[in-house]
Amino acid sequence: MYPSRFRYEAPRSLDEAITLLREGGDDAKVLAGGQSLVPLMKLRFASPELIVDINNLPGLDYHREDPDGTLHVGALCRHVDLERSELLKSKQPTMAAAAPLIADPIVRNRGTLVGSLCHADPQGDWASVALALGGSIVAHGPGGRRTIKVADFVTGPFQNVLEPDEIAVEAIIPAARGARAGGYLKLERRVGDFATVGVAVAIETSGDTVTRAGIALTGVGGSTIGATAAAEALVGEPLTEQKIELAAQLAADVSRPRTDHRGSAEYKRHIVHTFVVRLLSRADGFAERAA
């Protein structure tokens, strides 16, 4: 790997990191797990002049739940931590389903959920999961902290609303108000492949009634797609076959896939439909490798 020349800093405090980022301006980049940034630098698609490695920042490798059920995922919490988390397995079916489907074990050992959200790859799996769950990002900058909804965080492919001197310190997944169900299905050509199509479904129920629903799509548009109409169609009523079919149809309708070597647009839309049906029809919503 022969990237362009760059300066490397590994600060030990958040303030120091912010100062460095401010100095570097647009030519500085945060390095978290490096699983997206380093490949880009290798190919020289990205040539930052300053790398601010945040791996030495203390106290960011957590994921924990507040008493009210709100989940916090720190900026240095790795994919593998989430894959192995008992907390996720018992409380967060959509996240637990997605974690083992991200990349391969080597990438999961280093890559971070927060980094994945920041990277804003339309094929990133966490973005759909976080969107379906109504999650947010907490950004820390010179002026303090602000919380940004995932739905407002991404402005386009590989673009987010962070200022150059802001660091995303954690992601927040709000507490469920009812019983939580859901899952994540991903059609991939091989382990470690990005999604040809990914579908995240998160629903909360009270009795038979759906109280909240989120559906989001990976890899079928210029950025992660929230299938809001599909989700809304489910709320306030029990999950029936007709409702499921309607939601699947609405989700397929908002997808904007492209024909490429992974498949035709028509096929990908069909898979969105199929996966929404499969996820909603399966009450337990556990992970299943689709391909």
Partner: protein, 796 residues
């Protein structure tokens, strides 16, 4: 009385001896080209063309020269002044070293920079300013042959179109007659997609020219060091004795490391100009987009059939896409490799094939990726065609094969395309496979499952393939005959060293070769070291590819060992004070026929060769052999796969895979099984996920490991291997046949046939590989054939 040696214990024939080379490989102690660091070494980077077809208007390298640490910038213009802008290929064409007039494929070498380190070299490549004028791009034979198509090779005199060759083989008349008399004709058309051998280690070289000694040493990732030495002597016009090619450990080759690449040539010239060692290490993208690819053939054929299932004749047509330069590595007599080995295991009276090669704006270098010169395409087409014909006839696919097999007592058998097969038990192999997979039971399950909407399928592939080129009468590369060689030195303490003209790339030569010597001389295999790859020390050989090492170099080892044994016998007679005729051999020991207790070991003979030889005998115990095989070897394989297809998504899973390989005598059964498993994994990859394709602009899709997929342990199915059937090769000194490639050659059709069987209700005849879920889904939904021919469709 002494106990006879246990051959398995000493690591001889049939011992599943652990691979000795793994000791260093798994400890990270291998010595690859990139591990080698020479004093004063510089680093080279190549600037590649972003466009697939364009005229070069200008190249401005002035900014690159200004970068501190840059020693040399080379362009095609500069190469041309030394007559090195073009080089000859292995198929009597020419290939650009650095482009002068046009670039003809994406990734073509345009310039290179030699600098203090690779970072600087890369910076300098980026600073080179090339102005291109884009030309129309051609990515398939259909486009290449269309009227008015741009002529890609306008550098060649008299080349007014994009056709490279027309080649014909077989009996056109007899075949026409047979078709006229047929009860029915089956037809099949398909594309075998372009793939890439994709060794984990990319190509690279370190050229080290020493002005004082005038000697050029090149460390290089090559499967055929001696051929490279000859090529360098001819291209660079250096005296052959002043060229030393060293091929150290190689991190996989699979055919990719047979050709001569521009990077090698540039590093050599740079070292001569700068008088310093110059290292070039290709990156993964460079390897995938510019070096020897495989396949990319459009096959179209017909089978003349009698109603009872007898095959009367075959007609084949191939359109092959060779990329921008015809640089296939193959025997020169055959334009499309051994494609005409198709249908060799079936008793078919007549066959005829027409082949046409075309230039396109794609990377050159059709190499035998784990295959004996295009037999992969041949056997794939054969087995897909056989299945289609069985379906057309309404016959059971296993029975259809069986009734057309060459029978065990029909050998030697002349195939309709002219090969001579010499041995095999085809029916018996099929029986083993059918039993192992539970064929009848599966057919029942399949029917039941179908009634419940589940799609199960079973696919069979049976084939014999020609491995181990030559003989030298028919096989040569650029006129150099395809024999091979070995040299054995037995040291005074009874230890030995073997050198061959082959070059292993992970196959386990160091282990297997010692076992052959052990079998012939009774020396423990652990007492024997093997060395390959240095042209100053190894005997001349044609290298390792096309499953030829055991058939040819392995045979040479046995023959050299036999010469040593003959001399050892004379030494034994001398030591035992009897005449040579009275000496008998058992493994590792000579004894007196009339008094078996009186004997000497091979080790005692070795000592005597240096310390106590009879008067008049030359001292020492070493010998060599140049082996010219009388024929190819013909292993047989039967692969059977069962799958389940998801009717909603087109995703398919392998539920069972059975492999029956008859490769003659197995020297090291464990290594043989490793070769088969590796080959089956590659077969699965090709059937399921792997291909290099191009969009309409000639951009390579598959230029990195995110898009060019190698299967992992997760998705690779389990394989059940069978070795019950063993037919010795009648002409190989120890009865072995090639095995390195059978599974990669015969495997893909078994997977594809299984999926096609699962969706047979659609009536679709063909879905091109890789059988990606969307293609299978399209076939099910629209009940139509699905072509994988480039350009790949995109919305934009």
């Amino acid at each position: 009385m002494s106990q006879a040696l246990d051959e398995i214990k000493i690591g001889g024939l049939g011992a599943s001896r652990k691979r000795v080379e793994d000791n260093r490989f798994i400890r990270g102690k291998g010595n690859y080209v990139d591990d080698i660091v020479l004093p004063g070494m510089l680093h080279m980077e190549i600037l590649r063309s972003p466009l697939a077809h364009a005229r070069i208007v200008s190249i401005d390298a002035s900014k690159a020269w200004e970068i501190p640490g840059v020693h040399l910038v080379m362009t095609g213009e500069m190469m041309a002044t030394r007559n090195l802008a073009w080089m000859p290929t292995l198929s009597y064409d020419t290939q650009a070293v650095l482009a002068t007039d046009k670039v003809r494929f994406q990734g073509q070498e345009v310039a290179c920079v030699i600098a203090d380190d690779p970072y600087i070299a890369k910076d300098a490549c980026e600073a080179i300013d090339v102005t291109y004028e884009a030309l129309p791009v051609i990515v398939s034979p259909a486009q290449a042959l269309a009227p008015g198509a741009t002529v890609i090779r306008d550098d060649k005199e008299n080349q007014n179109d994009n056709v490279i060759f027309h080649w014909e083989v077989g009996d056109a008349e007899g075949t026409s007659r047979a078709f006229a008399e047929a009860d029915m004709v089956s037809r099949l058309q398909l594309h075998y997609p372009r793939s890439h051998p994709s060794p984990i280690e990319c190509c690279g070289s370190i050229a080290d020219f020493n002005r004082a000694t005038e000697k050029l040493t090149v460390y290089m990732t090559t499967q055929a060091p001696h051929i490279i030495r000859a090529a360098v002597a001819l291209v660079a016009e250096l005296p052959e004795q002043m060229i030393r090619i060293i091929s150290p450990d190689i991190g996989g080759g699979f055919g990719n490391k047979v050709p001569v690449y521009p990077g090698y040539v540039c590093s050599i010239l740079a070292s001569i100009l700068l008088e310093r060692p110059v290292k070039w290490i290709e990156d993964k993208t460079g390897n995938l987009i510019s070096t020897g690819f495989a396949r990319d053939v459009y096959l179209d054929g017909e089978m003349a059939l009698r109603r009872d299932g007898k095959i009367l004749a075959i007609r084949m047509h191939t359109d092959s896409d060779h990329g921008a330069f015809f640089s296939d590595a193959q025997p020169s007599k055959f334009k499309i490799g051994l494609m005409h080995s198709a249908f060799a295991c079936y008793d078919i009276p007549y066959a005829h094939m027409i082949s046409r090669g075309t230039y396109t704006n794609k990377a050159p270098g059709g190499v035998a990726y784990r295959c004996s010169f295009r037999v992969t395409e041949a056997m794939f087409f054969q087995e897909r065609m056989v299945q289609a014909a069985a379906v057309d006839l309404g016959m059971d696919q296993a029975e259809f094969r069986r009734m057309n097999f060459v029978r065990d007592d029909d050998f030697p058998h002349r195939t309709p395309f002219g090969f001579l097969t010499d041995s095999g038990q085809y029916g018996a192999c099929l029986d083993v496979g059918l039993k192992a997979v539970g064929y009848d039971n599966f057919l029942q399950q399949q029917e039941e499952a179908r009634s419940r909407g589940r799609l199960l399928g079973i696919g069979i592939s049976t084939m014999t393939e020609p491995l181990g080129a030559g003989n030298s009468r028919e096989y040569d590369i650029l006129g150099i005959k395809m024999f091979d060689s070995a040299e054995i030195r037995v040291h005074m303490t009874g230890k030995a060293m073997v050198r061959t003209g082959a070059r292993g790339q992970g196959q386990g030569h160091e282990t297997t070769w010692a076992q052959i010597v052990s079998h012939e001389l009774g020396l423990p295999a652990d007492d024997i070291t093997v060395e390959e790859g240095d042209t100053d020390t190894a005997p001349f050989g044609m290298g390792t590819y096309a499953s030829r090492s055991t058939p040819v170099a392995g045979a040479a080892i046995a023959m050299a060992a036999r010469k040593i044994r003959a001399k050892a016998r004379r030494l034994a007679a001398h030591l035992l004070e009897v005449s040579e005729e009275d000496v008998e051999w058992e493994l590792g020991r000579f004894y007196v026929r009339s008094a078996p207790d009186r004997g000497v070991t091979i080790q005692e003979c070795a000592m005597a060769a240096y310390s106590n030889m009879p008067d008049g005998m030359e001292p020492g115990l070493q010998n060599q052999s140049f082996y010219d095989p009388p024929n190819l070897t013909w292993p047989f394989a039967c692969y059977i796969v069962t799958v389940e297809v998801d009717p909603e998504t087109g995703v398919w899973d392998v539920t069972n895979m059975v492999a029956v390989d008859d490769c003659g005598v197995r020297i090291n059964p464990m290594i043989v099984e490793g070769q088969i498993m590796g080959g089956l994994t590659e077969a699965y990859a090709m059937a399921n996920m792997q291909f290099i394709t191009f969009d309409a602009e000639g951009n390579c899709v598959g230029s990195n490991y995110m898009d060019y997929l190698l299967p992992t342990a997760w998705e690779t199915p389990g394989f059940e291997l069978h070795s019950e059937i063993m037919t010795e090769c009648p002409h190989h000194p120890i009865g072995a046949k090639g095995i390195g490639e059978c599974a990669a050659v015969g495997g893909p059709a078994a997977f594809v046939n299984a999926v096609m069987d699962a969706i047979s209700y659609t009536g679709v005849r063909n879905v091109d590989m890789p059988m990606l879920p969307d293609r299978v889904w399209e076939a099910m939904k629209y009940r139509r054939d699905v072509s994988g021919a480039p350009p790949v469709l995109t919305d934009e």
